[in-house]
Subunit: 138 residues, 2 copies
DNA sequence: CTCTGTGCAAAGCGTTTGCAAACGA
DNA sequence: TCGTTTGCAAACGCTTTGCACAGAG
């Protein structure tokens, strides 16, 4: 796991450091992490981590395409590892973000639906807001 | 035009003021406005407008459902008037946001595609990032 | 050894808040 | 008139920056 992130970083021209691999591991574990939640979590095992370091690295890794920003209605942005297209199910009660994959077929359909002449699509973000299964039980 | 916004405000329990109707007119004219662009624009005709007033009113009108926040990758949120579901085409070169309506039929299809058990959908935001026709010419 | 990355503290901004005066109904 | 809204200025909190030291390759 740790080795993987070290490789990922090097592939993108970044040195592998304790801080960086842990940011990546943390985002992977959380699925989607906010700056603050990442900082809080890593501080538990590495108390001298600086918030500024988290900011600098998130910015850097977004620039390098290792991470993707996920802007969310009424919350601060979260960050996720770059991966194939998917939908975000965002719970307006607890704030959790869940990924929902869609098949190749559905992906194509989306592209057709969202096609527009004279607009060169580079990426898309589909966010569905509602209440998740856990919050629905309450 | 101005009358309409006065009515819209009153329907939502808000007093009609110069500042509020102008914020709404401005967002309508821009399509999507950031706090700052709204403030800049209105200040030209009403120089004593306070930025704090713009903030307070935007927050209030979002709460009342008159406005909707549009969070955008790498930018500050913009705001739009509440309206029927649509797609945002966001130009990563110039930052402009364009709305693309979709038909009832397509809307249904979207809902089917994005269906998930145990998740109660309340709203959706579909953002497509790319370059617009104007920026493509450059 | 060299260059990059980290931590700290300070600076910078965007946003929110409290309050007295102005305004809408 | 009465409750709401505005403008101002201060406070706040998140984010960025500069620099000396530490660490990766």
């Amino acid at each position: 796991m740790q080795k993987n992130y070290a490789v990922l970083l090097k592939e993108n021209g970044l040195k592998s450091t304790f801080q960086r691999t842990h940011i990546l591991e943390n985002i992977h574990a959380l699925g989607h992490g906010s700056i603050d939640s990442i900082y809080q979590k890593i501080t538990q095992i590495h108390p001298t981590l600086s918030l500024a370091t988290v900011y600098k690295n998130i910015v850097l890794m977004v620039e390098k395409g290792v991470l993707v920003e996920v802007p969310i209605l009424g919350q601060k942005s979260k960050y996720e590892l770059s991966k194939k297209e998917h939908i975000h199910l965002i719970c307006t009660a607890c704030g959790e973000v869940e990924d929902q994959d869609y098949t190749e077929e559905k992906a194509k359909l989306f592209h057709q639906l969202t096609q527009k002449e004279n607009f060169h699509l580079s990426s898309q973000q589909i966010n569905l807001y509602g209440t998740c299964h856990l919050c629905n039980k309450i």
